[in-house]
Amino acid sequence: MSVKNQEPNPSAKPANDLVQGTLEMLILKTLALEPMHGFGIALRIEQISQGVFRVNPGSLLPALSRMERGGRVRSEWRATENNRRAKYYTLTANGRRALTAETERWATQTAAITRILEAGNQA
């Protein structure tokens, strides 16, 4: 076996084309509906985005770990539908507030970007 580089390799972007900084918002949104485990979150994002965003564990699990320490989600070990133990994440009040704020910010930004792009089209 060859020796693998242990440091993050900058050439392999973990968040598959996911717009920078939006992963956390998507996770928050997903968890706003119900508590979920890691794979459930990934699957839900992939399904809702109709396969546009595919979140792999390499970016999802560190993001969840960061959000848990940040107090936006909390976790507990629970049995899954097929009776396995999994770590379920739940949105906290803090996370809910963050979601509202991020959504608003996102809306403002996309609206602005759209306007810029349309202005470009008209010109």
Binding site: V3, K4, N5, Q6, E7, P8, A12, H37, G38, F39, G40, A42, L43, N56, P57, G58, L61, P62, S65, R66, R69, G70, G71, T80, N82, R84, R85, A86, K87, N94
Partner: protein, 943 residues
């Protein structure tokens, strides 16, 4: 709250790393399983699904690392790991670690020790309110009783002037005065049963009633003195004691207030105890035990009253508290000073009486009273040790720099040998930052370890230094225990040291390693070191040569100064003289009784076998005592306001014979000069030369400005000049000796009140017994004590010393600075030698291969030797080329402290250069010889 949770979480996962790790693993496993199950549902085979899930995840370890590293505890863990790694790597090289720790401990310890002294002697402020507002009026370090000076001159004030300024402080918040010296008094404790109880000696200070108030000091128990205590002469028998005295002598008696201390036979009521650490404004080697109002002067000093408007005796120092504005603004302060000077000028004018000549008017106008900042208190220690301490501080910083250069060099050499290891680690994905950090942590472990050892070393060193400085007196003003400031200083010093010797090598490690592949052999790795990497060790050597030279030159200066001082002619016998201080007043002798006592003492002591001659005197040959006065001489007309001051001494017959002070012309004072014969005096050469340059001093009459010993005295002899207090004094003091036996028993009758009873003359006492012995003087001490006890068992001997001890004490400061500088210079040289040897050795080892090739190609061994030595010589000459001018430039900071040699003394520079050259060449020669002796075949196989 969230932070707290984060902290608890982090700590839990740090403590139970296994569990935290297991949870991450379980979550990943769960994810993979769920992902694979999902893929299987979508039609993949179980194998394929599992494989695809694994590929999506990427490296499991990387993922775990990424999850782990978002937590703060991962940083802490990395740090811990680096510390462990650093400790392990240091433990693997015990020799290096030991040398590094020791040199750092010595360097940092020396810095801490000197800083502790600087902080306590020079930097610490008085424990009173706003000490920065305190100023002394003139130079208050002068102590004694002066006569025939102007108000405020030499920092001396008479009582009436002090009283006026205290009552009307003008723009100052307050002005107060204190006796310029402490008096030794006998104290009988409260409850002592009558006279049978042995009296104890204590140091008493006279202070004005507002002294404590102006100083801004409060009592620990009871109250301080108040102006009411100090209102009229010979009233106010109250006393405030120091905390130390209360604790050690009064056994911390909580009910001491209101009790009575009997001081010199007069009862004083204890009204207060001062807090610990309060020592008054003036700090000398003796600490004040008790303070009493100035009005009790006759009791405390056992001298006639100086509290009269025309006593003409100046025995007080004064200080003032500036207004906050004046403390902050030099202009306002100048105005305050102007006001003060005007007050003093009018006092001087009032004192002159009659009409004042224009010249004298002008002179009075020019009298200035500088306001000297006194926030650190008044202490001759400041002045004596200030320069020495700063020079020492500079020296120890240089020593530490040399130690740093050494360690930097060792680490650089090690960085070169670690290139392969570093290259491997970089290839394995370690980041450069991590490697640099790890290397820095190693150096910090060394420097902090060195700092901790240094503190221990400093504690011991400071204790020794304080013992030296305090000259064996019970000294509590200095403490070797490091306080917060010192600890902070040491910590800062350690960190700075670590950074200084660590950052360069740490960066060099990755810089060089990054450029080399794993495949390069040690030879190419060594040979191909970047220019910077080869340049650094050499410049460090040049720097060390430079600094060592500087230190050696400084040490040379101080050693020669010390030798010159010790070997100079003091003008008196320095070997066979025993001195004893006694006080007949404390044993109850009145001035009239002294003549008989003195005669009995001389007779009894002369009969001690091994004693050649005996004399009594007010002051011994070495003394900082200040019995001085202005004098007037027949046949000499002083210029207006010429300084006619002379140091006085009253001596018994055979004083000159006993002390070995030779008489250069005329005759000495002898036993035949009695109360009934012509009053005679002996003056020293300096006085004779100054006033009678034609050599006609003998036969002139001399009158002293103190009524009790006014004279006239006929000069019968001229004695050699002596060095009485400062061994550096190039200009001897003017001295007048008069016979003890010829001092009148009573003061001359007051012309104003001829019917008043005659007052006894307090200036008839002698304070010192001097014995000229034929053998070692210390062998006669027991006989001396026995003899005195046989004359009068109640006569207290205050201390006994040999003249050798007195000379050593006078030389103390000189020895301190020169021996410490020399010790540090030798230490620095030793460190530099270790460093030079290490680096040279390493360089030669790196070039072993090259040497082998040269030898194999037919080079002579001398050539090889020369190649190595040439490099050393080059570095040496560079270092010397920089170091000699640097030393020359630095020498002007010590110029004032030299004695008997100049700051450009060529021998000192040459000597230092020779020593440094020998060290450099020797440390190059040893490895060079080894290199030259190498077998070419071995050398080529060296890889």
């Amino acid at each position: 709250m969230r932070q707290l949770k984060n902290l608890v979480h982090g700590l839990r996962s740090l403590i139970n790393r296994q569990r935290a790790n297991g949870e991450i693993d379980e979550e990943i496993d769960g994810f993979l399983e769920a992902s694979a199950a999902h893929k299987q549902q979508n039609g993949m085979s179980p194998e394929q699904a599992r494989h695809a899930a694994l590929v999506e995840m990427g490296s499991r370890n990387t993922l775990k690392h990424r999850v782990w590293s978002v937590w703060w505890e991962s940083a802490a863990e990395n740090l811990l790991k680096d510390v462990q790694l650093g400790l392990r790597s240091l433990a693997k090289r015990p020799a290096f670690t030991l040398v590094a720790l020791l040199s750092l401990a010595l360097g940092i310890g020396a810095n801490t020790a000197i800083f502790t002294l600087i902080q306590q002697v020079l930097l610490s402020e008085l424990p009173v309110r706003s000490p920065n507002e305190l100023v002394t009026l003139g130079d208050a370090t002068n102590s004694g009783i002066a006569g025939g000076v102007d108000v405020g001159q030499y920092g001396f004030f008479p009582w009436y002037a002090a009283r006026q300024l205290e009552a009307n402080p003008g723009p100052f918040q307050g002005i107060a005065s204190f006796g310029s010296f402490l008096a030794k008094v006998s104290v009988r404790l409260p409850g002592a049963a009558g006279a049978s109880q042995q009296a104890q000696l204590a140091a008493a200070g006279l202070v004005s009633g507002n002294y404590f108030k102006v100083l801004g000091a409060h009592a620990f128990l009871g109250r301080t003195l108040s102006p009411a205590d100090d209102s009229t002469p010979d009233t106010g028998a109250v006393v405030v004691v120091s905390f130390h005295y209360w604790q050690s002598v009064l056994s911390s008696d909580p009910a001491i207030l209101g009790k009575t201390l009997t001081i010199n036979g007069t009862p004083f009521e204890v009204v207060g105890v001062m807090p610990p650490g309060f020592e008054g404004l003036k700090i000398g080697l003796d600490l004040a035990d008790v303070w009493t109002p100035s009005t009790m002067q006759t009791v405390i000093l056992q001298k006639p009253s100086m509290l009269t408007p025309n006593s003409g005796l100046f025995f007080l120092n004064m200080f003032a508290r500036l207004s906050p504005k004046a403390a902050a603004d030099p202009h306002v302060r100048a105005q305050s000073q102007l006001w003060l000077e005007q007050q003093v000028h009018s006092m001087i004018r009032a004192g002159e009486g009659g009409t004042i000549s224009a010249a004298r008017q002008k002179e009075i106008e020019h009298e200035t009273i500088p306001l000297v900042p006194a926030s650190h208190g008044v202490s001759y220690l400041h002045d004596t040790y200030r320069q020495s301490l700063w020079v020492l501080m500079a020296v120890v910083v240089l020593v530490l720099l040399i130690a740093c250069a050494n360690l930097a060099n060792f680490l650089l050499a090690r960085a070169a040998t670690r290139q392969r290891e570093i290259a491997t680690r970089l290839a394995l994905g370690s980041s450069r930052a991590r490697i640099v950090r790890q290397s820095l942590i190693e150096t910090l472990i060394l420097s902090l370890g060195g700092g901790i050892l240094g503190l221990a070393f400093a504690f011991a060193a400071t204790r020794a230094l304080i013992a030296f400085v305090s000259e064996g007196n019970a000294w509590i003003a200095l403490s070797p225990a490091p306080n917060a400031t010192v600890l902070l200083f040491t910590l800062g010093m350690s960190l700075a040291t670590g950074a200084l010797f660590g950052i360069g090598p740490a960066l060099a490690i990755t810089r060089t390693a990054a450029q080399h592949s794993l495949s390069s052999s040690s030879r190419t790795a060594g040979g191909g070191r970047s220019k910077a990497a080869r340049w650094w060790p050499k410049s460090l050597i040049v720097g060390q040569v430079m600094l060592s030279l500087l230190l050696l030159v400084t040490a040379g200066f101080f050693l020669q100064t010390l030798r010159n001082l010790q070997h100079q002619d003091f003008g008196f016998e320095r070997n066979f003289l025993l001195l004893a201080r006694f006080d007949a007043r404390l044993a109850g002798y009145s001035p009239v009784q002294t003549a008989a006592l003195h005669q009995r003492l001389i007779d009894r002591l002369s009969s001690i076998p091994g004693v050649q001659s005996v004399a009594l005197a007010e002051t011994p040959p070495i003394s900082s005592g200040n019995w001085r006065s202005n004098i007037s001489l027949s046949g000499y007309t002083p210029a207006p306001k010429e300084n006619m001051n002379s140091v006085l001494n009253r001596v018994s017959g055979r004083y000159f014979e006993t002390t070995g002070i030779s008489i250069v012309s005329g005759r000495a004072i002898s036993a035949t000069d009695t109360a009934n014969s012509l009053k005679v005096a002996v003056v020293n050469e300096a006085l004779a030369r100054r006033f009678f340059p034609k050599g006609n001093a003998i036969g002139q009459t001399l009158t002293i400005g103190i009524d009790s010993v006014k004279g006239p005295w006929q000069i019968v002899g001229i004695a050699r000049d002596t060095k009485a207090s400062n061994p550096r004094n190039e200009k001897p003091e003017l001295m007048t000796y008069i016979p003890l036996a010829q001092i009148d028993a009573f003061l001359p009758a007051d012309a104003a009140a001829p019917s008043a009873p005659k007052q006894e003359n307090q200036d008839r006492y002698a304070s010192f017994i001097l014995l000229r012995t034929s053998g070692a003087p210390s062998a006669r001490i027991a006989d001396l004590r026995a003899a005195i006890a046989s004359v009068d068992p109640h006569l207290p001997l205050i201390d006994v010393s040999t003249i050798g001890e007195d000379v050593a004490r006078m030389m103390g400061k000189e020895e301190l600075s020169s021996s410490l500088t020399s010790i540090f210079a030798v230490l620095a040289l030793l460190l530099a030698a270790i460093g030079l040897f290490g680096v040279m050795n390493y360089n030669v080892a790196q070039r072993t291969n090259e040497m082998g090739v040269r030898l194999a190609l037919g080079a002579q061994r001398q050539n090889v030797l020369w190649i190595v030595l040439r490099e050393a010589l080059l570095l040496l000459s560079l270092g010397a080329g920089l170091g000699l001018p640097l030393s020359w430039a630095a020498s002007r900071y010590v110029r004032d402290q030299l004695f008997g040699l100049k700051a450009d003394d060529p021998l000192t520079y040459a000597g230092a250069l020779i020593v440094v050259s020998c060290v450099v060449l020797l440390s190059a020669w040893i490895p060079a010889r080894r290199a030259a002796a190498i077998n070419p075949v071995d050398a080529l196989r060296y890889e």
